[in-house]
């Protein structure tokens, strides 16, 4: 019976083999860069061709030994998504579930939750998590999607380069250089569940060396539904504006400055007063390349966020961050090292029975890292060794090393293996949170001795860059976790106060497969499948009230297929199909989602879009949080006009 288990794998390999074989014969004729095609392209179209074919892996990551998927600007545009979290659904190595009109649960390699805390998200080098719970407020991460160059989604630990909280994955959102966003761009959309969305951006050149863009965008988003079928009333709106400047200071120096200002009113509880979520941020970056082989990057940012929950509880966070990275190539060594300094002023206004103590806390984070990529055999075998030493205000020093081996048996073919250790350091909710029954009696009480959660990850992967028209990435992982957060009851008979402990351990394993292909010059196809199996248990001595299950609710299987077809008459037809398996606890039924977009370029610079989302069912639930109540995401349709001048 044992060998029977291998059957599906064998079938998959066979299928893969035949797909590739037939592909190679097929693509001889339909090579995307035929003479005929290339000479018919305009200057602007030529500038949009990716150099590394369908693989889309940015240069530096092409041969890096890790599981990375890239959502390109074209993928975003073709899919018809209208927000960042919707765009993240396009990466099959992420678990993405819409909870209500403004809240999302997003994670990688499991542990998904509204308060998911093992994923690091960066926007142009700026970390966007809140130290309140080490997660991301997705309702405050807004963009003109047109200005996003690409989103790199790395599943697996990235602690060595990116630091604590890059435990299960890293999302890197990279906006376009203002050099590439010259001119006027305007978009306006309205639909059945989208009362309105409008954006305006203007980009230009101050002189031959300085380019810039300024933008404003706003939307009002519709409501989700209660399970009873009536509208939940969690509709909300947001406004945002900002700028980016890029300056080529010299042939060796590039400087960029960008800033954003936003004000949103999400209302997940559908209450009389909505939440106020506003903030501003400013990032300055200086890139210096002393030569092809050495250089540094210096980055500083300021980020201020204010969240008024409308019930008296407010959170105010000011982050100051300074980051320095240096790279040097010496013979067979590519050495990267750097240091980071971060100061976070975290200030809350507590309620009488709901409090973070102390209300004001200054969190310091400083770290240094060193990584050496050693070319053991020229263009054949690379060994990467690196480690980060990071100090945080709660647990002191944490050590996050990793080792990666990449073997290139043929050009653009990489087989890699990695072992890494990553830490999830405590956030304020872990250490400083108190929920009281009366002013003298706690139900939940902070735990000063809570430690960091630890992951040791073993990964194995294969990536093929540009085999004709197909690129493949296959990775498998085995993650061993310890000291995962648990809820420990207090002394009997009442069992209070409950405190957070490190009472859960266990392992997860899974496979991530991603494929990109261009079967014909007019057809682009991309897909991915992720399998995830979790085995978490309560440690000896722990009495975790949730039996080890509170931290995550993940599907075992998920599949995403995105297709874009160029039709005659300047028409485009894009579809995204996704299958998300059952969530175990609380149970959410599996579903298949289908989004479709028809784009029509009616004039050189004007495009009409008609997009239908969640076509297959009237409504479905994607995630059930502990609060507020479960919501259903409706089928919806919207129209959008886009103009470029």
């Amino acid at each position: 019976m044992r060998s029977y288990k291998y059957q599906p794998v064998l079938h998959l390999l066979f299928a893969l083999f035949f797909v590739l074989q037939s592909q190679s014969a097929f693509s001889q004729e339909t090579d995307t860069l035929t003479v005929h095609k290339l000479k018919s392209l305009s200057l602007k179209e030529l500038m949009n061709i990716e150099v590394t074919s369908v693989s889309k892996y940015p240069e530096k990551l092409k041969e890096v030994a890790s599981a990375i998927q890239v959502i390109s600007r074209e993928d975003i545009r073709n899919s018809g998504v209208k927000t960042l979290p919707e765009a993240l659904r396009l990466a099959s190595n992420l678990q993405v579930a819409q909870v209500n009109a403004s809240q999302w649960a997003i994670s990688s390699r499991g542990f998904n939750n509204v308060l998911a805390n093992k994923l690091l998200v960066l926007v142009d080098g700026r970390t966007v998590y809140t130290p309140l719970y080490a997660g991301v407020y997705w309702d405050a991460q807004n963009f003109i999607l047109e200005d996003i160059d690409r989103i790199e989604v790395i599943s697996g630990p990235g602690g060595t380069l990116w630091g604590a909280n890059a435990v299960n994955g890293v999302i890197n959102i990279i906006t376009r250089n203002s050099k590439d966003t010259k001119g006027l761009f305007a978009e306006a959309a309205v639909g059945s569940n989208l009362p309105g969305l409008a954006s305006l951006r203007y980009g230009g050149q101050l002189n031959s060396k300085i380019s810039y863009r300024v933008y404003g965008t706003g939307f009002k988003s519709g409501s989700t539904f209660l399970t009873s079928g009536s509208k939940a009333g969690d509709d909300w709106q947001m406004g945002q504006g900002g700028f980016r400047m890029d300056w080529i200071a010299s042939g060796r120096d590039k400087v960029s400055l960008q800033g954003n200002l936003y004000d949103g009113a999400p209302n997940p509880d559908a209450g009389d007063t909505s939440v106020t979520a506003k903030g501003e941020n400013l990032v300055a970056r200086w890139n210096h390349s002393a030569s092809d082989k050495s250089g540094f990057q210096l980055q500083a940012y300021y980020d201020h966020r204010l969240r008024d929950f409308g019930n008296g509880f407010t959170e105010d966070l000011k982050t100051y961050d300074l980051d320095w990275q240096n790279r040097n190539e010496l013979h067979m060594h590519r050495i990267t090292y750097g240091a980071n300094l971060r100061l976070m002023e975290h200030n809350v206004t507590n309620l009488q029975l709901f409090a973070f103590l102390p209300a004001h806390k200054t969190l310091y984070l400083y770290s240094a890292f060193l990584q050496d990529e050693i070319e053991l055999l020229k263009e054949r075998l690379n060994l990467t060794l690196g480690a980060k030493l990071e100090h945080n205000s709660y647990t002191g020093f944490e050590f996050q090393p990793n080792g990666r081996l990449a073997w290139m048996p043929a050009k653009n073919n990489t087989i890699w293996a990695a072992v890494s250790r990553a830490m999830r350091t405590p956030s304020r909710i872990d250490r400083d949170f108190y929920l009281l029954i009366t002013p003298d009696l706690s139900l939940i009480s902070g735990n000063d001795s809570l430690r960091s959660e630890e992951l040791v990850a073993y990964e194995l992967g294969w990536r093929s860059g540009s085999f004709k028209n197909v690129s493949i990435s296959l990775s498998a992982f085995y993650n061993v976790y310890d000291n995962i957060r648990s809820a420990e009851p207090g002394t009997p008979p009442l069992g209070i106060p409950i405190t957070f402990g490190n009472g859960v351990k266990g392992n997860t394993r899974g496979i991530e497969l991603a494929l990109n292909t261009q079967p014909a010059s007019w057809w682009y196809l991309k897909g991915g499948y992720t399998y995830l199996y979790k085995n978490l248990r309560v440690r000896e001595g722990s009495k975790d009230l949730n039996g080890g299950s509170a931290e995550s609710n993940d599907p075992q299987h998920q599949l995403v297929i995105q297709s874009n077809i160029k039709l005659p008459q300047h028409l485009e037809f894009g579809t995204v199909i996704r299958y998300i398996g059952n969530l175990p606890k609380p149970y959410v039924s599996e579903y298949v989602g289908l989004d479709a977009r028809i784009g029509w370029k009616i004039y050189r610079s004007v495009e009409l879009n008609l997009v239908a989302q969640n076509l297959l069912d009237k409504r479905h639930t994607e995630f059930i949080p502990s609060s507020p109540s479960a919501r259903e995401i409706p089928r919806s349709i919207y129209g959008k006009i886009t103009c470029y001048f």
Binding site: V9, L13, L43, V51, I248, A410, N412, K468
Partner: protein, 179 residues
């Protein structure tokens, strides 16, 4: 049970190592298409293209990175009535009539020598080395965000009597280091 798996894996790998369109090829093709495109966005001085029958010459100096691709692209094409011709040169003194020259040399010294030779010939010089503009070249290809971008030295094109269309300047990074 292990053996068949390995066999298939080897087969797949073997397949991969044989049939590649390398990224380098792809990059060269895109650059070739740019060279062809430049013919429409540059105006040469009167004496450089005197009569209608005279061909517009795209040249390659140094090792030819394009294979037959450049020839295939221009085959049968005309720009403002001028037929397009591809010439390959081994050294600068060989160059007589030429309008666009792709220079596949990367030594600063070599490049300066070539530019000294081409001075006042009204040739649009194109290259992709880091030092190309610094050494006195006009258009440099480079990669940004996995796409081909251009740097144009407006000062030098102007000095050579070339008029570069604003459409081309708009999509390029314009630098102007006077030397």
């Amino acid at each position: 049970m292990i053996h068949p798996d390995i066999k298939i894996l080897l087969l797949v790998l073997g397949l991969f190592s044989s049939g590649f369109q390398t990224n380098a090829d792809r990059e060269a093709k895109i650059k070739a298409a740019f060279l062809f495109n430049f013919t429409q966005f540059v105006q040469w001085p009167e004496d450089a293209l005197s009569n209608q029958q005279e061909p517009l010459v795209i040249g390659v100096l140094g090792e030819n990175p394009f294979g037959d691709y450049l020839k295939d692209i221009v085959a049968g094409e005309k720009v403002n009535g001028h037929p397009l011709v591809i010439n390959y040169y081994r050294n600068a003194p060989e160059i007589n009539t030429c309008h666009i020259l792709f220079i596949n040399l990367h030594e600063s010294g070599e490049l300066r020598e070539v530019f000294a030779h081409l001075k006042s010939k009204g040739i649009l010089t194109v290259g992709d080395g880091d030092n190309f503009i610094k050494a006195g070249g006009m258009v440099r290809f480079f990669k940004r965000d996995n796409k081909i971008r251009m740097e144009i030295n407006a000062h030098i094109t102007k000095a050579a009597g070339l008029i570069v269309s604003s459409k081309l300047l708009q999509v390029a990074d314009v630098v102007s280091n006077k030397k």
